[in-house]
């Protein structure tokens, strides 16, 4: 068992949940509210110095009773030691957890991907948007277990939406508004962008 677990318990007490070992890796469960403090402590405390964030991901089990887990892989580059930190979230409850982007910039896209695939919100993330799916994707969160393999919409509906997508809708409002050219767009295009709608076929006359 990784010695950092005992040090964590001594420092944070009840905020540290159970710890276990699987295939040689130590896994420690951390309470959701203490996550950011624990991570900062693990990163900055001499003797632990988990300065490298390997991965951020999430797991949902087939057993519906089990909570969702957000999984952080930490590594100390100087000590060549790994630690896996998990936060449990009730799948029926509030799927929110603090973002670790203030500690590691590398978490930016990883947390966006978890948000995109699992619908977990990261509080304090600078730019929490979908990343692999498009921004107006309406079928839900693909890696959740209640999401069917072929998607929620019928194949016909998916094709219809893809064909009806208007190219300008692929620019987010934020991107367009930074350019002065935005002011010169036709009023109806600006209105569509403001509403964020896409997938509407132009009226056939």
């Amino acid at each position: 068992m990784n010695p950092s677990v005992d040090a964590l318990r001594a420092t944070f007490g009840n905020a540290i949940g159970r710890a276990l070992e699987s295939c040689g890796d130590t896994i420690v469960y951390v309470g959701r509210d203490a996550l950011l403090d624990v991570m900062a402590w693990l990163r900055d405390t001499p003797g632990h110095t988990y300065d490298y964030l390997v991965d951020v991901t999430a797991v949902e089990y087939r057993d519906r009773e089990r909570p969702l887990e957000v999984v952080y892989g930490l590594r100390s580059l100087s000590r060549r030691a790994d630690l896996r930190v998990k936060v449990e979230l009730d799948s029926q409850g509030d799927l929110t957890v603090d973002s670790v982007v203030p500690l590691w910039r590398g978490a930016d896209w990883l947390e966006r991907e978890v948000y995109d695939m699992f619908g977990i919100t990261f509080r304090g993330h600078p730019d929490l948007r979908r990343i692999l799916m498009w921004e107006t994707y309406a079928e839900g969160y693909p890696l959740r277990k209640d999401f069917p393999l072929r998607g929620r919409f019928s194949r016909a509906e998916q094709v219809r939406q893809a064909l009806a997508a208007s190219p300008e809708a692929h620019y987010s409002l934020e991107e367009l508004s930074i350019a002065d050219a935005y002011e010169e767009l036709p009023a109806d295009m600006k209105e569509r962008l403001r509403r964020g709608t896409r997938g509407e076929l132009p009226d056939s006359e």
Partner: protein, 422 residues
């Protein structure tokens, strides 16, 4: 709103009565003031310099990049979701298609994770063959990177040399696996096939002749004024920034962090091979080039050592619950047929637990995180995609550089969109 404009006095040159030159005024024109406003341009998704279907929305101030907003997902295939519906061995063909420039290394990464989850120790011959697979992949991936990047920066000849070397490895790969791209060479507990008879001699010939091409590329690029001018001091990341951005592989080492999974968390007995971890100093595009170039010759060294030590013996473990029996036995022997049936229909069950295995892929640390609930299909198969994470540092690196430098920086990340989007 009207655009901001500047007044420009137009004039035309003329000749005066005594033969002197004159400037004949033509009046005052209103021209758009290009310097006063930011321009938004769209690069990709179909653009040769984005190395796949990456789309970059770039805000420019004149020719200087103010902000880059990457858009991903054009090649998203939902591999991780698909994996939850497949047996462990059925996932291996999916791994080919993630980082399709180094398919054999991806196969190895997944097989190692599944074996760790199931507690399987592979045979000595299989271990060495997997090292060969990984290092062959590193060479072809770096060759593609070198070729395409040199084209991006205006050098065409190294592209031809690099792709010719890649072709030679591809021929060996085809000899071994029957496929050039979708190799699927590993199985849980072993390999899909042993290497054919001519393979060892062919690969040895390659390792003897490959350094010559490397030195040619070195001579044509390393001190080339255009190459140096376009790459040195461009896209600099310090060691602290590289760590903070979770970079891995050549990107991390070019910034001066000597971290290589093969040395620091060895798998496949890499600790017994004699090779150097290549580390850069400045963290710019030039150092990334140097690191990748030298890594090719280190891989070549590893290949030579692996060929020298390649032991005889079986490639698969002797566990009929994990390894399919030979077809002839499955058709003639009742017991073998039962094992065959159970493996194909039910799959190989993994015990409850989870495993993470990171391997040093050409692009960086390829992690495979498998969570099992005791059935034959994983609850979660997560790929830690090195080029996805490396690419996330692009907006930070490109800000403040020229638009043409953005192309160099993007090329230096060495992305492959199959892996970025998965």
């Amino acid at each position: 709103m009207s655009k901001r404009t500047v007044e420009v006095e137009l004039a035309t040159p003329g000749v005066g009565p005594r033969g002197e030159t004159l400037r004949v005024p033509l009046g005052v024109a209103q021209q758009p003031d290009l310097a006063a406003e930011h321009m938004l341009i769209n690069i990709g998704p179909q653009h040769p310099a984005t190395h796949g279907v990456l789309r970059l929305v770039v805000e420019l101030d004149g020719e200087t990049v103010v902000r880059v907003i990457p858009h991903l997902g054009y090649l998203h295939s939902g591999f991780e979701k698909l994996g939850e519906y497949r047996h462990y061995n059925q996932i291996i063909p999916l791994t080919d298609r993630t980082d399709y420039l180094s398919p054999m290394a991806n196969n190895v990464g997944f097989a190692l994770a599944a074996e760790q989850l199931m507690g399987i120790a592979i045979t000595p011959r299989c271990t060495v063959l997997r090292v060969i697979a990984c290092e062959m992949s590193r060479i072809i991936s770096h060759m593609v990177w070198l070729g395409t990047t040199s084209i991006d920066l205006g050098a065409f000849t190294p592209f031809l040399w690099a792709f010719q070397e890649r072709e030679r490895i591809y021929n060996l790969q085809e000899m071994w696996t029957g496929a050039r791209l979708t190799t699927s060479v590993t199985r849980v507990g072993g390999m899909m096939a042993d290497v054919p008879d001519d393979f060892v001699a062919g690969l040895r010939h390659f390792t003897q002749t490959f350094p010559k091409t490397l030195s040619e590329i070195d001579r044509v690029l390393t001190r080339n004024a255009v190459w140096v001018g376009r790459t040195q001091g461009v896209g600099v990341l310090t060691a602290a920034e590289a760590i903070n951005h979770s970079l891995s592989g050549p990107m991390l080492r070019a910034s001066g962090v000597a971290y290589d999974v093969r040395k620091d968390k060895p798998y496949l007995d890499y600790e017994t091979y004699d090779f150097d971890v290549v580390v850069g100093e400045h963290g710019d595009v030039y150092d990334r080039y140097l690191v990748r170039l030298e890594e090719c010759s280190q891989s070549n060294r590893i290949l030579q050592q692996a060929l020298d030590r390649l032991p005889d013996g079986p490639i698969n473990i002797a566990d009929p619950r994990v390894i399919l029996p030979p077809k002839s036995r499955a058709m003639n022997d009742m017991e073998a047929m039962i094992y065959h049936f159970k493996q194909v229909m039910e799959g190989v069950k993994a015990p409850v637990g989870e495993a993470y295995v990171g391997i040093e892929n050409p692009k960086g640390e390829l992690g495979t995180y498998l969570v099992s609930d005791g059935t034959a299909k994983p609850v979660r198969w997560r790929i830690r995609p090195p080029s996805f994470i490396n690419l996330s540092a692009l907006p930070h690196m490109a800000a403040g550089h020229l638009l043409s430098d953005l192309i160099a920086i993007n090329a230096s990340v060495d992305i492959v969109m199959g892996e970025v989007d998965r």
